[in-house]
């Protein structure tokens, strides 16, 4: 099962993308407990592109696709903004004290922790971030 959608790089589109994900979830009859991982990944990566990926006067388009294969769900987020690999961000110090703690980089860190596999590539002038997690046991 595969679905694809495309939206402008605008924070107001987040709720539309979340609904797109939720509708896929219901249509594929996936376990509700796993939906949060993908909702979080969608928000963190989408907002990263919105906030860091737009040169002045240009609004890149963002493509989001979902593909379910053998119980593994892959979320792919692509944009035509400047080259940016979110996986190159330094991991936050999750042991820092309350006063020293920073939130920057936490979103991507959470996505890497929660997904089974995350990969980035720059292809044809586009950033492609692919995130995969097993959401259902394989059918024997």
């Amino acid at each position: 099962m595969k679905r694809h959608t495309s939206v402008p790089s605008d924070a107001a589109q987040l709720c539309i993308l979340t609904r797109f994900l939720q509708e896929f979830w219901w249509a594929a009859d996936l376990p509700p407990a796993e939906t949060v991982t993908f909702e979080l990944a969608l928000e963190e990566i989408f907002m990263n592109v919105v906030m860091h990926g737009s040169p002045a006067g240009q609004a890149p388009r963002i493509d989001v696709s979902l593909a379910l294969c053998d119980g593994c769900l892959t979320l792919m987020i692509e944009d035509d903004g400047p080259s940016f690999d979110p996986l190159s961000l330094a991991a936050p110090d999750v042991t820092a004290s309350l006063e020293e703690r920073r939130v920057g980089g936490l979103g991507v860190y959470l996505v890497r922790q929660m997904m089974d596999a995350v990969s980035y590539q720059r292809l044809g002038g586009r950033n492609q971030l692919s995130m995969t997690k097993r959401v259902r046991e394989p059918i024997p």
């Binding site: 949060v36 928000e43 963190e44 907002m47 309350l98 703690r101 939130v103 936490l106 979103g107």
Partner: protein, 118 residues
């Protein structure tokens, strides 16, 4: 996301309900800041009761972090309670469970709130 407040003698309960995502974070932060800046009689503590919170992203975590810091500076105790599993996972992975007091429920959080530092 909806937010309710309940003033108890020991603490002010902050009760967010729904999804604390990027879109909801700024509004929630403003409400919490208003509470912490509010003059008059201050409670000894602030407890965020998350029983109705279904989702939190890094934008939401930021509000918890800033609120915990502001409370510490104001001399108030700060705690969260009744985290649903999805929210608990994000708190644990981010290390927030180590820097913010997390309780199983409201009664446990209140039992640990220090008396009358207001």
């Amino acid at each position: 996301m909806k937010v309710r407040f309940e003033s108890l003698s020991l603490a002010t309960m902050v009760i967010p309900e729904g999804r604390l995502d990027y879109g909801a974070a700024a509004g929630f932060q403003a409400q919490v800041e208003q509470l912490l800046a509010g003059g008059g009689t201050k409670p000894a503590g602030v407890i965020i009761d998350c029983a109705g919170l279904d989702y939190v992203s890094s934008a939401g975590l930021r509000v918890f972090l800033l609120a915990a810091r502001a409370s510490q500076r104001a001399g108030l105790s700060f705690a969260v309670c009744a985290l649903k599993p999805a929210v608990r996972e994000v708190f644990d992975l981010s290390g927030f469970s180590r820097i913010i007091a997390v309780y199983a429920d409201r009664a446990a959080a209140l039992a640990d709130t220090p008396l009358g530092s207001a």
